[in-house]
């Protein structure tokens, strides 16, 4: 069981690392998906350990939400690109001190 947890934590940390260091918005987006899916791994893993399907059902919900989120997120990215002509987060820093 510890294996699922470690795998999930690994995915989460990679995702978090990606969010903090990557400047490309698309990459940020991928990292975000990675965070969501680290949770999914945990759901599936616990589902297997406990021998029921509750966790697996939840994964479908998460995937549905993630799909919706991806649609909205990508739309925002497209709009941002049209506005600024860039997908680099450093070019979106007009709300600063």
């Amino acid at each position: 069981m510890i294996g699922y947890v470690i795998l999930s934590a690994l995915f989460f940390c990679i995702g978090l690392f990606g969010i903090v260091v990557r400047r490309n918005v698309i990459s940020l987006f991928f990292s975000l998906e990675l965070l969501l899916n680290s949770a999914n791994v945990l759901f599936v893993g616990f589902s297997k350990v406990h021998g029921n399907l509750y966790g697996e059902i939840f994964v479908f919900f998460v995937l549905a939400v993630a799909a919706a989120e991806a649609a909205v997120g990508l739309a925002i990215v497209v709009a941002l690109y049209r506005l600024r002509g860039s997908v680099n987060t450093e070019d979106y820093s007009s709300l600063r001190w």
């Binding site: 969010i19 903090v20 400047r23 987060t89 979106y92 820093s93 600063r96």
Partner: protein
């Protein structure tokens, strides 16, 4: 809620009706204040007369009105306790108050604050009645403070005049000094005796050491000295003459200032058990003599009377100090009548002179105002102590008691004080009512005898001023039931010779006054301009510079010192803290805003770090 409750509550009703009428500007209550005042105080007077007879029949009435609060061992209730001491005070307060109400109808006739005046009169009468009825120290203190408040309101009645407003504040502050000591006394009583009820405290007095009793007695005396305007807290009373004259008669002559004497007499077991009676007496003698000398030099008719009040209160304190509580109360009793009469008479004179109070600008008024003049002279003779007028009996008893109890020095000064009393009252009468007419055209046009509502109270008050002295035997027996009268026996011949000395000095004083101010055989300037006496005269004329000393010592000295410190603390400590908080927020913000980079990644990092922090804390705790 018996009869005593209504005696006190009725004037309060008058205050509430008139006061609310003024406050809400009820048109139908306008200029009606005297109805409520006269009716309520009149009923109250009848009730207290009834009580006086009840108490004379041997009853002691003790009623509980309501419990105010209960907290631990302290139970504060309001009630009415009427023994002979209270019965006499109730009668005097209501009697004088009733006639002051009546008199004020005429005196305040043209005043725009007519109803406010009667409302305050009701409040004052209520406060004084609560004070004298009190069965415990807390109610006594309530009444004590309430009369202080009414006194403040009435001295500052014409608050648009700066001098009146100043005098009101001065009276209030001077009283506050005394009241502070008084409340310390109350706290010590509760601490030592565990109760504030008179009967419980007084029954335990013998179990308490003389030192503790002396401390309590001194603290209470502080309150009495403030309220009764004794040396060294006396300076407020002459200034209180800025109030309307009926107020001077009611509060600053007949009743409120007597509260200190009443309180000491009420607390006689404490004073008897302590060793401060000498202090009481010495304060009294200093005030009696010192104030009489100042009274001799003043030119304001009301100020002369004010100093005479100080002096007479000093006599009462001297009697208390000599242990002759009954004689102190007897002098209070007679003094209330003739001093109220004198003040009301002076009000009548001032009314006739269109507000002029300087006796140098009067003279020869007797033929214009015979009733005022006659009654004023009766009051003066009573004050001077010419037999058979009331003051003769009471003052003579005080002088006798100091002699009998071995205080020869007190006796000497009180006897000299009697001479001075005769001098300044003679001076006042001859300057105001006789001699040449020194007033101007304006006053002459205005000059008239006062209306009947003003002269009738004068006539009625002059009756007890003449005859109250004959009540001495009855009074001594009656009051003797409540307070003791420590008096060593003196032989009849000694007593007669003392009376002879006092009376002949009083007559001598009147004759000397007449020599100076009536026959004009001698000129007062010869004395006051004499190089030997002039410095002394200047000191006395300036009231021994008490006001100046207090001004430099307390107002300038302590006041400015405390002011400087307060200013420093306010400017650097209080403001420093406020400004410091603001500055800190500002500079901390300056630093903190650098973290707001606008880059999403940074925010994500903060978020992650915050999460780590929260988890760490949860994990650790």
């Amino acid at each position: 809620m018996g009869i005593t409750f209504w005696i006190a509550a009725l004037p309060l009703i008058s205050f509430l009706i008139s006061g609310l009428g003024v406050f809400f500007r009820v048109g139908s209550l306008k200029r009606k204040g005297h109805y409520f005042g006269l009716v309520t105080v009149g009923i109250s007077l009848l009730l207290s007369t009834y009580l006086l007879f009840e108490v004379m029949g041997g009853r002691v009435i003790s009623e509980s009105w309501f419990t105010w609060l209960v907290s631990g061992g302290l139970s504060a209730s309001f009630g009415g306790y009427v023994d002979s001491l209270t019965a006499v005070m109730l009668f005097v307060v209501n009697f004088v108050s009733f006639f002051v109400h009546l008199y004020s109808i005429g005196y305040m006739e043209e005043d725009p604050g007519y109803d406010r005046f009667f409302a305050y009169l009701g409040l004052f009468t209520f406060s004084m009645l609560v004070l004298v009825l009190s069965p415990n120290f807390l109610q006594l203190f309530f009444g004590w403070e309430a009369v202080g408040l009414s006194s403040y309101l009435l001295i500052g009645f014409w608050f648009k005049r700066k001098r009146a407003a100043d005098a009101a504040i001065k009276a209030f502050l001077m009283n506050r000094v005394g009241d502070f000591l008084f409340i310390l006394g109350l706290v010590s009583i509760f601490w030592v005796f565990g109760s504030l009820e008179f009967d419980q405290v007084f029954s335990q007095v013998s179990k308490v050491s003389a030192g503790v009793l002396s401390l309590i007695a001194l603290l209470l005396l502080g309150g009495a000295v403030g309220k009764s305007a004794q040396f060294p807290l006396h300076t407020w009373l002459p200034d209180a003459m800025e109030g309307p004259t009926p107020i001077s008669a009611l509060i600053h002559a007949a009743t409120m200032v007597a509260a200190g004497v009443f309180m000491v007499a009420r607390c006689w077991p404490i004073y008897d058990g302590s060793s401060v009676l000498d202090v009481v007496g010495i304060i009294g003698v200093i005030t009696a003599f010192g104030a009489a000398t100042v009274g001799l030099t003043q030119f304001d008719i009301k100020r002369v009377l004010a100093y005479s009040t100080l002096s007479q209160l000093g006599y009462m304190f001297a009697a208390l100090g000599a242990g002759a509580y009954v004689f102190a109360m007897f002098h209070l009793f007679t003094h209330a009548f003739f001093k109220a009469l004198l003040f009301l008479g002076s009000g009548s004179v001032i009314h006739a002179m269109d507000g002029e109070q300087d006796i140098r600008k009067m003279g020869g008024l007797f033929k214009y105002m015979k009733v005022t003049g006659t009654t004023f002279i009766i009051g003066s003779l009573a004050l001077v102590g010419i037999p058979p007028f009331a003051g003769f009996f009471s003052k003579d008893k005080i002088i006798l008691s100091t002699y009998a109890n071995g205080h020869l020095l007190w006796w000497l000064f009180l006897t000299l004080g009697a001479l001075l009393t005769a001098l300044y009252m003679g001076r006042l009468i001859f300057l105001v009512f006789f001699g040449e007419e020194r007033f101007g055209q304006r006053e002459r046009k205005h000059l008239h005898e006062s209306p009947a509502v003003m002269t009738v109270p004068l006539i009625i008050l002059s009756v007890p001023s003449i005859f109250a002295g004959f009540l001495e035997g009855w009074f001594t027996e009656f009051l003797g039931r409540s307070v003791p009268n420590h008096l060593r026996e003196v032989s009849h011949s000694t007593e007669l010779s003392l009376v002879f000395i006092t009376v002949s000095l009083a007559l001598l004083g009147l004759i000397v006054a007449a020599l100076f101010y009536y026959w004009r055989k001698l000129s007062p300037e010869v004395i006051t301009e004499n190089p030997l006496i002039k410095p002394l005269y200047t000191v006395v004329y300036n009231k021994y510079y008490f006001d100046e000393i207090y001004y430099y010592l307390f107002v300038r000295g302590v006041g400015f010192g405390v002011g400087r410190i307060s200013a420093f603390v306010d400017k650097y400590v209080i403001d420093g803290v406020v400004n410091g908080v603001a500055l800190f927020s500002r500079y901390f913000g300056e630093v903190l805003r650098l973290s707001q980079t606008g880059v999403v990644n940074a925010y994500a990092l903060y978020f992650a770090l915050g999460l780590v922090l929260v988890i760490t804390i949860i994990w650790l705790v």
